[in-house]
């Protein structure tokens, strides 16, 4: 079956005066219509660079190699002009801080309208207005008639994020890339936005990549979860597999750090050390020196993604049949429905 989006051996590097930062180091991913894939990792693991690489929104000092295959066509070699046509209509982006993502001096309505007009320049005034209202209703903004004339600063954080989502959906994008869309919001609003993401994806059959640093947050919306560390995917699987049967020590560590899973008076688990600098990544497994379950081979040879099930892979030598058996220190207990 052909995937809507497939990344093959994607690399992103930033060329800085201090050296070349390898932000993404060979990522393979697939994404199908109607699914939400969550990409989780600490800041600096390359998750945002991955999203921006797909849309080619990276700054000028960045370079991208690898294949970005959409419906069977590799768009990686596309020039800027062709990419412009795809932005908004094929994929669009939702940003972390809705405060700064909207132009402060344009009304919400005109910013949504602009996103429609780019791809439909001949649309009539009435049709445009109707579409703006439809989009605002789609993202559940009440009283759209009045609100389309307001400016971003008149809106609360949650409202602004809804407006950004309306813009993202304006040209019927098939892939939604959401970069920490709820981090700047209150818990109640966060849950609402996640629900909205999920509903939209059901209604419009869009595919979503949802980037977050918090495994607790994405559980509500994700169908599949990919855990990233130091520019690589270290574990990927369905949400059930990753939460209930995590295999990579880094996934264990992320879960153990969540206070929601802490038992009683124990101190929260913290990952020792710091993420490696990606200017000169270490030999072997990048996580080895912070990993209490590291094997000798981890310092020598980088583990490939090893199969757990057909949908579940983890990049750890612990999955090798020769490795010692380790009981995972954590794993969310599966609850009945």
């Amino acid at each position: 079956m052909e995937h809507l989006l497939a990344l093959q051996n994607l690399h992103v590097s930033y060329h800085t005066p201090r050296g070349t930062v390898q932000a993404v180091r060979g990522v393979d991913l697939t994404l199908d219509s109607g699914e939400v894939l969550a990409v989780v990792g600490e800041s600096g693991c390359g998750k945002s660079a991955l999203l921006k690489a797909i849309m080619r929104l990276l700054p000028e000092n960045a370079s991208v190699t690898g294949r970005i295959v959409v419906n069977g066509t590799d768009i990686a070699p596309y020039p800027e002009k062709q990419l412009q046509k795809l932005r908004g209509s094929l994929f669009s982006m939702v940003f972390q801080d809705p405060m700064t993502a909207l132009n402060p001096s344009m009304t919400i309505g005109s910013q949504i309208a602009e996103a429609i007009v780019v791809h439909e320049p001949k649309i009539s005034k009435e049709a445009l207005r109707a579409r703006v209202l439809e989009l605002m209703e789609l993202v559940e903004i009440d009283r759209p008639m009045e609100r389309m004339k307001l400016y971003p600063h008149n809106f609360s954080g949650g409202m602004r994020q809804r407006a950004v989502m309306a813009i993202a959906l304006a040209a019927r994008a098939k892939i939604l890339l959401a970069d920490e869309p709820t981090t700047a919001l209150d818990v109640t609003i966060q849950a609402q936005i996640l629900d909205l993401l999920r509903n939209l994806q059901k209604k419009l059959h869009t595919a979503t990549i949802l980037v977050s640093h918090d495994l607790g947050v994405v559980a509500r919306a994700a169908d599949r979860v990919a855990v990233m560390y130091a520019g690589k995917i270290v574990e990927i699987g369905t949400a059930e597999e990753v939460y209930y049967d995590p295999r990579h020590p880094y996934t264990w560590a992320l879960l153990r750090a969540l206070p929601a899973l802490a038992t009683g008076g124990d101190a929260l688990y913290t990952i020792p050390g710091m993420p490696p600098t990606l200017i000169d990544p270490p030999k072997g497994d990048a996580f080895a020196c912070r990993n209490e379950y590291a094997l000798a081979i981890d310092y020598e040879k980088e583990p490939p993604l090893l199969r757990v099930t057909d949908t579940h892979y983890a990049a750890t030598w612990l999955l090798d049949p020769r490795a010692p058996r380790i009981t995972p220190p954590i794993g969310v207990r599966r609850h009945g429905i």
Binding site: S43, D186, A239, P259, A260, L268
Partner: protein, 301 residues
């Protein structure tokens, strides 16, 4: 269970004026107490007044009415404040959310940490201010090699530790932390929260912990107050509040608390609430020992 009250806020109200005709009521007759050695959490959404409450406790905002007693001193009274200035300025310290902007980027870590001591003309116990800074850094788990670094060279978690070390060097009694982990990665959040726990358990610090992350509050706090539009709607010991929430707003908040459990999360319904109807008249009534809920009408408790 009676323990000594360290801080007691009584009926504090404060409004911000947007223009001559419009004002926002940030605090509306808010009362709460912090006991010696406890971590008291204030939770609520943005705009609920939780940060204003923290600023009132720190004398950064003067409430328009009501009183705040710290160690029996009314800090809202200029005379009493003046008479106890030294006590009040050293024994309460604040930690802000954004360590990037709360640390002066042009000062070295060692100077940042020791600055409050210099300002208060405190003689460094360990000989020099530098040694004092090094001691505090070790205390919060930062290596001494960072003494001569600038904040921009540190990670978010390290910067927040510097902010905590700066607060600790005054040997405070009460630490007021306004969303101290909100801008950090989950794994770093855990480190900071563990540090708070350690400071409370081993050294008896008291905390006012302002947060919107409920799982963090549940894990860390002894007692929790839920704020809605500047009023407490529910207050209880932490476990009691999370096991047995009474007020509809608390229930709505808890229903939105993210859990790392996909199946349960997908099937969990958000409890909607309408802040206007909830915005609760009525009085706080005790439903079980230490558990207060704001209930409509009836006789006063």
């Amino acid at each position: 269970m009676e323990s000594e009250i360290l801080l007691s806020a009584q009926n504090i109200s404060h409004s911000f004026y947007l223009s001559k005709t419009a004002s926002v009521r940030a605090l509306d007759k808010l009362s709460f107490e912090i006991r010696r050695g406890e971590i008291y959490g204030l939770v609520g959404e943005s705009g609920s007044g939780k940060s204003t409450a923290a600023r009132c406790v720190m004398n950064l905002v003067k409430p328009q009415s009501g009183h705040i007693f710290y160690e029996g001193v009314d800090i809202t009274d200029p005379k009493q404040f003046g008479a106890n200035k030294r006590l009040l300025q050293t024994s309460r310290q604040m930690i802000f959310q954004d360590s990037t902007s709360s640390l002066n980027g042009r000062m070295k870590v060692a100077d940042i940490i020791a600055e409050p001591m210099r300002i208060a003309h405190m003689a460094p116990k360990r000989g020099t201010y530098r040694k004092e800074a090094a001691f505090q850094m070790k205390y919060v788990g930062l290596d001494e090699i960072y003494l001569d670094k600038y904040p921009a060279e540190l990670s978010g978690g390290q910067r927040q530790r510097v902010a905590i070390a700066r607060a600790l060097c005054m040997e405070p009694e009460l630490l007021v932390a306004d969303e101290p982990v909100a801008s950090l990665d989950v794994s770093i959040q855990a480190q900071i929260v563990n540090l708070f726990r350690h400071l409370q358990d081993e050294h008896g610090f008291s905390f006012l912990f302002i947060a919107h992350d409920l799982s963090m509050v549940r894990y860390l706090c002894d007692r929790v107050g839920v704020l809605l539009r500047g009023k407490l709607v529910e207050e209880a010991p932490s476990e009691e509040l999370f096991q047995n929430p009474q007020h509809p707003y608390t229930k709505a908040l808890l229903s939105a608390m993210p859990l790392p459990d996909p199946i349960r999360e997908r099937n969990r319904k958000l409890i909607p609430f309408d802040a206007d109807t909830l915005c609760s008249q009525g009085v706080m009534r005790e439903v079980s020992p230490g558990h207060f809920v704001r209930t409509e009408g009836g006789e006063t408790a």
